[in-house]
Symmetry: C2
């Protein structure tokens, strides 16, 4: 927890996708006393409706600032989320292989997102960047590994004024060692409204709201998390 004195508020950039993990991270950053500046991306993702969830979450949390960056990772493609590649659907998560990179992996996405967060942090004088990568993602995406985040922090401190002027920018991943069930337990305790979050990679337009497909890896991991945590799953499924 940062030292928060009346005259000295610590500012943090929180990467907010609109999903379950980043909504929990937002709540954690606020609980730790940070003044939160949220950052979301329209990057050409097929589930761009997640950005609407991010906006609603940011408003509900009363963040100081929320910026949405329009960037287009479709110019590179290479992922089921940014190219014309089907999102795999299954009935359970039993097919997941920790040694295999899923087709939903977006090349260098976390590096691009964190780089923007570094730019934002530098401009507003934030000392921390919060990112919701976790142990489950870690099993398949290279840019969710703890050693990656440590290397990013080293690089970021050489990239910016921090490296010249002696301050320090910290990359914080409070979910890194948590299971999905532990994340949900933590978030429920902090009052996160998971009904407002959207984790599905391939949501369907519903009459009132987007509906989760229930069969992509993200939906399956999320559903299992609620079950394991013994928390009612508020997800709106198709």
């Amino acid at each position: 927890m940062p030292p928060v004195e009346p005259d000295q508020v610590s500012h943090a950039v929180v990467l907010l996708s609109g999903g379950l993990d980043s909504a929990t991270v937002l709540a954690i950053a606020q609980a730790e006393g940070f003044d939160v500046h949220a950052l979301s991306f329209r990057y050409g993702q097929r589930h761009v409706v997640e950005v609407e969830a991010a906006c609603a979450l940011a408003v509900a949390a009363g963040v100081t600032d929320h910026r949405v960056a329009d960037i287009d990772l479709r110019i590179f493609g290479g992922s089921a989320l940014t190219a014309d590649i089907d999102v795999p659907k299954h009935d359970s998560v039993d097919h997941l292989d920790p040694d295999e990179i899923p087709v939903t992996y977006v090349p260098a996405r976390n590096t691009v997102f964190l780089s923007y967060a570094v730019a934002f942090a530098e401009v507003i004088g934030a000392t921390h960047i919060f990112v919701g990568v976790n142990a489950l993602d870690y099993s398949g995406y290279p840019d969710c590994r703890p050693e990656y985040l440590r290397a990013f922090e080293v690089m970021a401190n050489l990239a910016t004024r921090a490296g010249v002027e002696g301050s320090h920018l910290t990359i914080t991943a409070p979910l890194i060692d948590l299971t999905k069930a532990e994340i949900i337990t933590r978030g429920a305790h902090l009052g996160v409204d998971y009904a407002s979050t959207l984790s599905c990679y391939d949501p369907i337009v519903g009459p009132d709201r987007p509906l989760a497909c229930g069969r992509c890896d993200s939906c399956l991991l999320r559903a299992r998390g609620f079950a394991d945590a013994a928390v009612d799953d508020p997800t709106h499924y198709a």
Copy 2:
């Protein structure tokens, strides 16, 4: 120089701004036998006309591929290049202080650009990323220091498939130790058409082409480089 066999071409992503440095880097990458995939950015820079120069250079060089990413760093601002802050003008480069970060520094710009290059490299299977940072930039911009580039390379190899599958991505900055005069000498030897490059931070619209202001730091360093190299300066000044 990479091992180039008839059946095995090495691919490189070259960050191409349209300026003198990156045009030289493009020529170096091709001279070293790489199959070049150029990458440029419209990032909200006031001198966005440099992207037209990049396109012309890419076509003239016959690169395999050239992509222009639309990203908007104006949402953060914080620089004379991306916010409503005047570009400083002088009559010589004598005012430059190696210990001071100029107002034309764009927070985390090289980190954002290199992150996109990592995404591009991963999708196309490129083994190298070429970037035109050099010793003169290094004197003022934190993200032009050799230790920054080394840290970025470490991070990039943990961020991507390379880190999982055992391949390696190299960040190459062939100009890092060169003065502007040495860069120009090298590029002239390689046949770079510097008349087609645009380095000015604050160009003026001319009847046929953009005209360099001649008084921003970038113009002054470039002009001194041509003088020191004893190469005719083909820049079109206002």
